[in-house]
Symmetry: C2
Subunit: 199 residues, 2 copies
């Protein structure tokens, strides 16, 4: 174990603070200049560290983005279980909308939008992030089904039907995404799922 | 009327061909390097014209993007009226999905994703494009309502509920968007709209 490793394990240690500063600076640059605008030189200068410090943490930009985005995904967008599925999905959409308009949320979209040559590890990271919560959503939907609040439902499809409209809404930036917007989306989707079941 | 104007009115004339070549080159560059990667110098060189030719047509990049994207919107994504609303909306989603994966479709998304300082004419162009078909969609929905195929429905909300999931799907690029994907989305939304009406 190196000294750096030890430092990293001590919450609030210098290494950890430097890492957080670098992550924040990386997201700022991507939000301003896009993925391809990120240069290690500028990143180091914004975070006030040497360039070697950046290269030691993340030998290439894919490593950097993977780390930054994974960290982002772990700290945002929770699916609650209050027992009321409409309420919990509404909260879920609101927290997704809030996360989407942060620099990190926009960076994820930038990654997904990049043109690829068929072998793009970074696009895969973006898709992984989108799918990260599918398992959690499936468990929440299953509980709602057990409680008689939903017919059996597939999380990937439900996720697309809920998150797609929110993403569409926030991309427009015409006005803030409100609780009633989230609720209208959730109610339509839940009603649609029931109808499928009845037919 | 100038000579250029006359040429522009003659279909297949040199001026028109140059304009089309420039539009295509602009979309290619945006797809490869993003909006901010577009320089008039490179654009002129790709389209094999002088830089002055580009500046004469579009004094600044906002003019260029407005023209290119408006032209794109006019030539794609129709809403048909066969008398069957589920079928027509399904066709609509398929043609939207096809348009989304073209360089022009990705350029629209790039524009919407750009960070703005509150006064961004280009973002407005992107939103205008998204809204361009709302009037047409409202008329198609109204006819379906008259035919008893739908309860009264607001086009902006229906558009978000239909197009949002498609956009989400195509951003992932995991597999092609199929007719059955379009149909599953349309059926859920139509069923959800009915349920709202019954309640």
């Amino acid at each position: 174990m190196t000294v750096d490793d030890l430092r990293a394990r001590r919450p609030g240690g210098r290494t950890r603070l430097v890492t957080e500063r670098l992550r924040a600076a990386a997201l700022e640059i991507v939000a301003e200049s896009g993925i391809d605008g990120l240069q290690y030189e500028e990143l180091a200068s914004r975070a006030q560290v040497g360039r070697a410090t950046v290269y030691r943490r993340w030998p290439n930009r894919d490593d950097l983005f993977r780390d930054v985005l994974t960290h982002f995904a772990e700290t945002t967008v929770q699916i609650e279980n209050t027992g009321d599925i409409v309420r919990d999905l509404t909260t879920f959409l609101q927290s997704f909308a809030e996360a989407s308009i942060t620099p990190a949320g926009r960076a994820v979209l930038q990654i997904l939008l990049r043109r690829t040559d068929g072998n793009d590890g970074l696009h895969h990271v973006g898709v992984e992030l989108l799918d990260r919560r599918t398992g959690e959503l499936q468990r929440r939907l299953d509980r709602a089904t057990e409680a008689g609040q939903l017919p059996p439902a597939e999380a990937p499809f439900v996720n697309m039907m809920l998150i797609g409209p929110v993403q569409w809404f926030v991309l427009r930036r015409e006005r803030p995404f409100l609780p009633e917007d989230a609720q209208a989306i959730v109610e339509l989707v839940v009603a649609g799922l029931w109808r499928d079941h009845v037919d």
